[in-house]
Every structure is written in C-alpha cells, then in structure tokens.
C-alpha cells in the first residue's frame, strides 16, 4: 500500500502576527513554526493505517523553503517512511489551486492508495487543497473526517457536518481524506524514531518541475479586524441593572418599540 500525507508548516497561532510590507500576507518575523494541526491528524492516521496493514509505505510531502524540513522531520519521526520536499521559497503566496496542482502533479502516476491532508491550514484556512487534489487526480474524496477505518480496500469514514451531525461514508480506495480535529491523538515521537528519522530519505524537488497550473485567485489585501466598540458591563443590584438594560434597549435598539 502506498500512502501520501500532505503537510504544511504554519506559524504557531500564539505568535504575534503583523501584516507584511506587501500587505497581502503576514510578516515572518518573530514567528514560531510548527506542523499545521490538522496535518498532524493526517500524519497520525497514515501511520496508524501503516501499522494496521503492516505492508505500507508512507510519503510525507511539504511545499516550502528549506525551513519546512524541520516540520517534515517530525512527520518522519512520527513514522512516515520518506519525505518529498517541494522546494519553493514563495509557497506562502500560492493559492490553493496552485498548491493542489503541485501535489497532484507529484502524485500523478505514483498510484497512491490513500492521500491524507489536513481539513484546512491554520494560516490560510481555505479548506480546498485536499478536495482539489482529488478532483485533479480523478479520485473520490471525503472531507472533514473525524473517524477513519480501513478494511481490505474499503474506507469507512465519519464526516463532521453542521450542528454535531455526522455522516458515515463508505468508499473504495484510492481516496483522498481530509482530516478534522477529533480523528485521533497524534503521537509524541519516541527518541529512537527521532534518530531514525534523521536517516530517512528526504528528497527536494524544485517547484517549477511540478507547477503546471495557473493561479485562479489573488489575495488583494490582508488586515486585522477593525476594532469595534467594546461591551458594556452593567453593575449594581438586579432591579437597577434591569432598568439600565431596558433604557439601553429602548435608546439603542428597536426591540422594545
């Protein structure tokens, strides 16, 4: 069985973000980097699947500068077998169609039985890459998967829908799965696996060899949400607060009219 896991290196969401000089993305200064949270579920699921079927080879793919190799090493330490690094210093500026195009181009002809991606990235959050890859490779896809089971070529997945409802989906591999929170608990790499990961294959491919599609969207501008007026906290005894509330509702809204 051949498995592909697509991961992205993103800034830690606790970082202090600033808009970059171009005004179309965040500045890279003072950021701490890590694996996209949803991609961690993807890696974990791929490794669990490998452990289940025994005979499997897991390739982890990541697009970005040399810096992303650090995150790829974590995926290798978690149990992926080899790394495919698509070298692209300008990956952060690429839109989902281009990213999916690059990955599909890489995967084409490699007959992956399963492709795992995160449900979305924590920084761009388009949620499109996984399903686009499936379309481009003419494969079925199941998105926002919270539970995954595999048995002899058949995938049984639970998708998360609105309002806590889940959908059970059954499909034959090959298939693309996009992973959502709750699917599994990503493992903490063991030290022997961290050391083994240092010796695993990690090939870099230039992005120009794989980028065959043109961008369809452009980021016009990114900005912080405008500061709106803060809330008002009412204080005093209950009767007093009720009076104040009624006054506000009368003055500022039409609900009591």
């Amino acid at each position: 069985m051949k498995i592909l896991v697509c991961i992205k290196q993103v800034p830690d969401m606790e970082s202090k973000f600033k808009v970059d000089a171009g005004g179309t993305w965040y500045a890279r200064t003072d950021l701490a980097w890590r694996m996209n949270e949803y991609d961690e579920y993807a890696v974990e699921q791929a490794v669990q699947l490998k452990e289940q079927v025994k005979d499997a080879d897991v390739t982890v793919l990541c697009i970005g500068s040399d810096q992303v190799k650090e995150t790829m090493k974590k995926a290798l330490a978690m149990g992926c077998d080899r790394g495919a690094h698509i070298a692209d210093d300008a990956a952060f500026g690429k839109e989902p169609f281009e990213i999916a195009g690059i990955i599909a181009e890489f995967a084409k002809g490699k007959s992956f039985d399963l492709i795992f991606t995160g449900m979305q990235s924590q920084d761009r959050a388009s949620g499109q890459v996984g399903v686009l890859i499936a379309e481009m490779l003419d494969m079925p896809s199941i998105s926002t998967v919270v539970h995954f089971a595999y048995d002899n070529g058949t995938v049984l997945a639970k998708r998360e829908l609105e309002g806590g409802v889940k959908a059970c989906v059954k499909v034959q591999a090959p298939v693309v799965i996009t992973c959502q929170l709750g699917m599994n608990t990503p493992r903490y790499p063991t030290l022997p696996n961290i050391m083994k990961a240092k010796k695993k294959e990690l090939l870099s491919l230039p992005v120009q060899d794989l980028l065959k599609v043109a961008a369809r969207q452009q980021t016009a501008k990114i900005y912080f949400p405008e500061k709106k007026g803060g809330g008002t906290v009412l204080e005093g005894d209950v009767a007093e607060m009720a009076d104040k509330l009624i006054r506000i509702l009368k003055e500022k809204t039409g609900v009591l009219a």
Partner: protein
C-alpha cells in the same frame, strides 16, 4: 588480688572446646560469605556504576553514619533506640573479640594477658552495662513494633527472627555471666564491676554449685550456637543491613546533590533509553533495596503518599530488589505502575531522610525516561501538549516566544542582544516571563537590583525554558536540546554571572548544565540579595510583617539554602512563624518533578495540604522563593478556603515593598 577472670572457665580450653568452636565459627563465617556472594551475583545483573572514587571521602561518610549513627538518630524516636542498641552491641562485639584475642592468641602463643587489673574492671562493667542497654533498647524497639506500631510499619517474619535471636543471645549471655559469678565471684570486690551479672548471680546462686556448672556449660554452648546462627542468617534476613546499609554509605552519591545522570543521546549504538528492566538499572539500584530496612521514613515524608497517591518510595525501592532476586526479566514499569511513577514530585524528602543512603528519585526518573523516550507516554495529554508547546515556543505555557521579554519593556532592562554591558544576567524562567502573578516577582527583583545599583540584563525573546520540568518528567531529549541551545547562547554573550528567581532554573543551570560544558557561576536570588544587603548596597526598611515561610524543595533539600531566605525575611522585618514541616522536612507544593505541567488527578491536592499547614500558623502571609510554589499556593489558598486570610507572596515582593 589481681582483678581478672579465667577465660573458658568451666568450659575448658582444650581441643574439645576449641576444635568444635572454631569449626563452627569457620562454617558460620563461610556460610555468611557464601550468602553474600550469592547476593553479589544478583547485584551484578545491574549496569556498572563507579562508586569507588574518592575512597577517603566515602570512608568518612561511612564511619560518620555507622559509628556515630548520624542519619539514624536524625529522627530521635526511634533512632536513638537503634543508636544505643548499636553502640551497646558494638561494645559487646569488641569485648568478645578481646576475649578471643587474649585467650586464643596472645595468651596461648605469647603468654600475654591484658584482661586484668583496672582494664579488666573497666572491661567488665562496660560489657555488663552494654548488655543491659542492648536488652532495654531491644525491648523498646519490640514494644514499638509489636504493641504500638506506627502506621505503615511493615512487620515481617524477619523482624520476629531478629528480635527473638538477639534477645536470647543477650539473655543467655547474662545467664552465663551470672552462673559463673555465682560460683566464682560472690562476695568478692570484683562482683561490683558486673552489676547486672550480679543480679542474675544472686537469682541463680540458690541452685548450688554442681547444677550451676552444668547450667553454665550448656548455656555457653547454646549461646555459641546462637551467635553462629546469627552469622549464618545475616545475609538471609534483614540482619543483612548490618553490612549492606553500612556499605551503602560508602557507595553514596557524592553529588552534586540530586543531579541526574546525563544520558548520552549522541550515541548511535544506543537502542534503548531509560530503563524498563533491571539490566538497564545499575547495580546500585538493586543494592539499595538490600540496604533498605523498611524504616518507612521516606514514605512518612512523601507528599504523594501523604495525599493518597499510589507512590511509596520505600515500596518502589523494594519492588526493584524483589524483582532482581525473583524475576529479573520483569517489566518494571508494569510491575511498579505508571501512576506510581508519575506521582513523584522529585521533592527529595525521601532521600534526604533515608538512614540507608538510598537514592529513590533517580530510579523513578530512569523509568520515566523509558516511558517518555521509548513510548512517547506522559501522565496526561496536557503534559504532551506542554512538551509540544515547549518545542515550538520554548515555554510549556505555549505563549509566543517573541513576547518573552515584554514584561521588562517598561523597566529599562536591556536584552543581551541589545546590550551586553551588564553586571549580571537574570535568567528569568518561563513563569516569571509569562505568568502575570510571577511577572510581579520578576519586576520586584529588578526593582531591588536597580535600588542596589546592579545593572541587570535578560535574554528576552532568546531565552527558553531551562528544560527542568521536561527533564524531570523524563524527556531527556527535549531537555538536552533546550540546554544545549541556552548554553551556547549564554556563552556567546560572555556573561560572568547569572542570577535566577526560580530554584528550578537555578538547580538546572548550576548542576545539570555543568555536564554539558556550562561553567558560568549561577546564584539564587536569595543569596544574591542577601549579599547585597550584607554589603550595604541594598538598604531595606524593616517593617513589621507576620509571616510563615515555605522552603521550596529545589532551594532547600536540593541545594541546602535555608538561611539566606530567612535572612531576607528578617531584613524585611518579618516575624517568621515556622510551619512544623520546615527546612529539610518541608512538605512539597506539588509542582516539582515536572508535575507543574500535569493535572493532579489522584487523591487529595498536595498544594491545598501545604496551604493548610501554612494557615495553621495563623500568619497572614505565606512567603516562598519559587514561581512554581507561588502558582500552587495562589491556587491552594482558594482550595483551602483561606483566600481572605492567607496571602502567598515571594520574598522578592516583600523586600521590594520595603526598599529604603
């Protein structure tokens, strides 16, 4: 008349006595040696560990603790019972040896007798009284064990054998003496030099000479047989502590106190890290169990045990020993239990009190290392999250690393990246950098330094967690990555001195980092400020303050810094009301050993227990010297419902409030 007595009186000194006696002795000693050699084979299952360096220093530690019973009598009750028994028993052994030397060597070969005259009188009364002391002390120990057993005291078959055998040996000794005196010394001035023997002689004297001679001879042989049995069963019973515990002082960890063994993570040959089985522990870890006398002092002081967690340091040590002797292949983590291993706060209360020089904490960490490094297991998901947060942002709180120095922005404190011309580097630590409550402590410390004219620098956003909680949880890999990074960074700035307000950082930089080539002096802020006050550079107004003080484990037991913080409290005008458990006996706040990162899910809360002890003093302020302690106490006053009456504070805060 010359004061002396005939050795082998009534028993005879011919071949019929000496041959069987020495044959018995040879057999007994032979069996004793054989018994121990078999145990040595079991010890050898463990990994090698050099505990033979600095033999002089080791011997001194051993003599101090064996001959003076220093650690044993550190807990006066029942330590002194053991102490006096030991000293009495020691005198009896010396006395018996002198008899053997005179009768079978100096007198036999050279006609030299030294057990005579004044020396004999002294010899006689000392041995007589030593025997009495032994009986009384043994009786005290027996009554304690069998009638007023304190909670947790394990009594086994060994204890009955030991009590019984020693009692009969001592009593038969007095019967032999009494029978001899009844025949030979009644009415002589010499009798007064054996007062206890005389009492026995008076009781026996009615029997008449012939029965006395028979009684004496039979009892003599019986006594001899008992003593030989004693030798034989030393290795087979807890009597072995006579040799193992004594040697364990020799094999003590010579320090630095409590420093963990540095794992070689670069070694490509290593396939396992930490320990899951005995062959991955050292011989000393097995030997420790043989040195344990089950006195349960460790268990009595263990904060985890006291609050209903499954950990007993005594039990862990003995489980290792039992496994070594019965099932050496067993998986120790399963045998001991994960909850047991995760419960330890590495507070060191067990090791500090242990009268057998046993090293409990290192064993637990070694097993934790295996769980973390080999299995990726933690006490809870929150701990794994803290590890990942530290990998990404260099702090277990998961806050963006770039904000680390923000607290100092308004104080005019440069980061070393901006200015290296500073007197000291303040290694702030994660809590004082990010946690609002502890930022107040950092600011107080800066205020004090500025008042004393000391120019302080920080690493700012370049500082990372020192790695202490990670190391203690067992994550040696993450600890070493952090340590190597910080060491290189601090060295690159050419700093001459580092001060910390966190005893965990202090202990780690000052001890653990030394193994990784870090040589810059590190000082705890308590000693640093005490010196500034002492030299007059820092002037503090003593203003009335009623308070109690909590010795943090890592400033106290791990580093023996007890006086500097008390000097600071005195300088601030503090009237200190000590808790019952203070200094080396202080009760942990619950946050050591990486437990700061973990939820406390089993038993009562340790921090609440400690806060209740503080509240019991009636003092309105609970002072401490550690960000972990402060965090736990802020939480603990709520848990104990004393939020209104007890305010946790750091010593730096009360000093900063009193700058002149």
């Amino acid at each position: 008349m010359e004061f002396s007595r005939e050795i082998y009186w009534n028993v005879g000194h011919g071949a019929w006595t000496l041959v069987p006696m020495y044959l018995l002795a040879i057999v007994a000693i032979g069996l004793l040696v054989k018994g121990f050699l078999r145990r040595v084979e079991v010890y050898k299952q463990g990994l090698p560990l050099n505990r033979m360096d600095q033999p002089g220093r080791r011997l001194a530690i051993m003599l101090e603790n064996v001959l003076l019973q220093k650690k044993v009598t550190g807990v006066p009750w029942p330590g002194l019972l053991h102490g006096f028994f030991f000293w009495g028993f020691g005198l009896l052994v010396i006395g018996t040896t002198l008899i053997v030397i005179q009768a079978d060597f100096t007198d036999l070969l050279f006609d030299v007798k030294f057990l005579k005259g004044t020396f004999y009188k002294l010899f006689s009364i000392v041995l007589d009284l030593a025997g009495l002391v032994c009986i009384v002390m043994l009786g005290g120990l027996l009554v304690r064990r069998y009638f007023f057993a304190p909670e947790g005291l394990e009594t086994k078959k060994d204890d009955a054998i030991m009590h019984g055998l020693l009692f009969v040996i001592l009593i038969t000794g007095f019967i032999i003496e009494g029978a001899r005196m009844a025949v030979t010394e009644m009415g002589t001035p010499l009798a007064a030099w054996s007062p206890v023997g005389l009492v026995v002689a008076n009781i026996l004297s009615g029997l008449g000479e012939a029965p006395l001679l028979v009684l004496h001879k039979m009892t003599w042989w019986f006594h001899l047989l008992l003593v030989m049995s004693f030798f034989i069963i030393i290795p087979l019973t807890k009597f072995r502590h006579i040799l193992t515990t004594s040697s364990n002082y020799f094999f003590s960890d010579l320090g630095p106190k409590g420093k963990l063994v540095n794992l070689d993570l670069e070694n490509e040959e290593s396939e396992t890290f930490g320990a899951t089985s005995l062959k991955e522990m050292t011989w000393k870890d097995i030997f420790d169990a043989d040195a344990c006398t089950l006195c349960k002092r460790c268990q009595d002081r263990c904060p985890a045990f006291a609050t209903g967690k499954p950990l007993s340091p005594m039990k862990v040590v003995n489980q290792l020993g039992e496994a070594a002797f019965t099932d050496p292949e067993v998986n120790l983590i399963e045998l001991i239990g994960k909850d047991v291993l995760w419960a330890c706060t590495t507070c060191r209360a067990c090791q500090e009190i242990c009268p057998a020089a046993i090293e409990h904490v290192g064993k637990i960490i070694e097993l934790r290392r295996s769980m973390v490094l080999m299995e990726g297991e933690f006490p809870g998901e929150e701990v794994m999250a803290a590890m990942e947060a530290t990998e990404v942002n260099g702090n277990p709180l998961g806050i963006g690393y770039a904000e680390r120095g923000d607290w100092a922005a308004e104080l005019g404190i440069p980061s070393l990246a901006e200015d290296t011309a500073v007197d000291v580097l303040y290694f702030v630590g994660c809590y004082a950098s990010f946690d609002k409550r502890n930022i107040a402590v950092a600011k107080s410390f800066i205020k004090l330094c500025q008042a004393a004219g000391v120019k302080v620098g920080i690493l700012g956003k370049e500082e990372k967690c020192c790695g202490e909680p990670m190391r203690k949880i067992g994550n040696e890999y993450l600890y070493q990555s952090l340590a190597v990074d910080q060491i290189e960074l601090i060295k690159s700035y050419g700093m001459k001195k580092i001060v910390t307000t966190c005893p965990h950082c202090f202990n780690t930089l000052n001890k653990d980092y030394r193994d990784l080539g870090f040589d810059i002096p590190v000082q705890s802020y308590t000693e640093f400020l005490a010196a500034l006050i002492g030299s007059g550079k820092l002037r503090i107004d003593a203003r009335e303050l009623s308070c109690t003080y909590h010795d943090s484990c890592y400033l106290g037991r791990h580093n023996d810094i007890y006086e500097a913080p008390r000097q600071l409290i005195a300088a601030a005008g503090g009237r200190l009301i000590e808790m019952d458990k203070n200094r080396a006996e202080a009760f942990c706040c619950s946050a050591g050993g990486g437990r700061i990162l973990a939820e406390e899910k089993i038993g009562e809360r340790i921090n609440v227990r400690r806060v209740e002890m503080a509240a019991a003093t009636g003092a309105p302020v609970l002072l401490s010297n550690c960000p972990f302690c402060l965090t736990m106490f802020e939480d603990g006053v709520k848990g104990a419902g004393v939020e209104e009456s007890l305010r946790p504070k750091d010593i730096a805060e009360i000093l900063a409030e009193r700058i002149r």
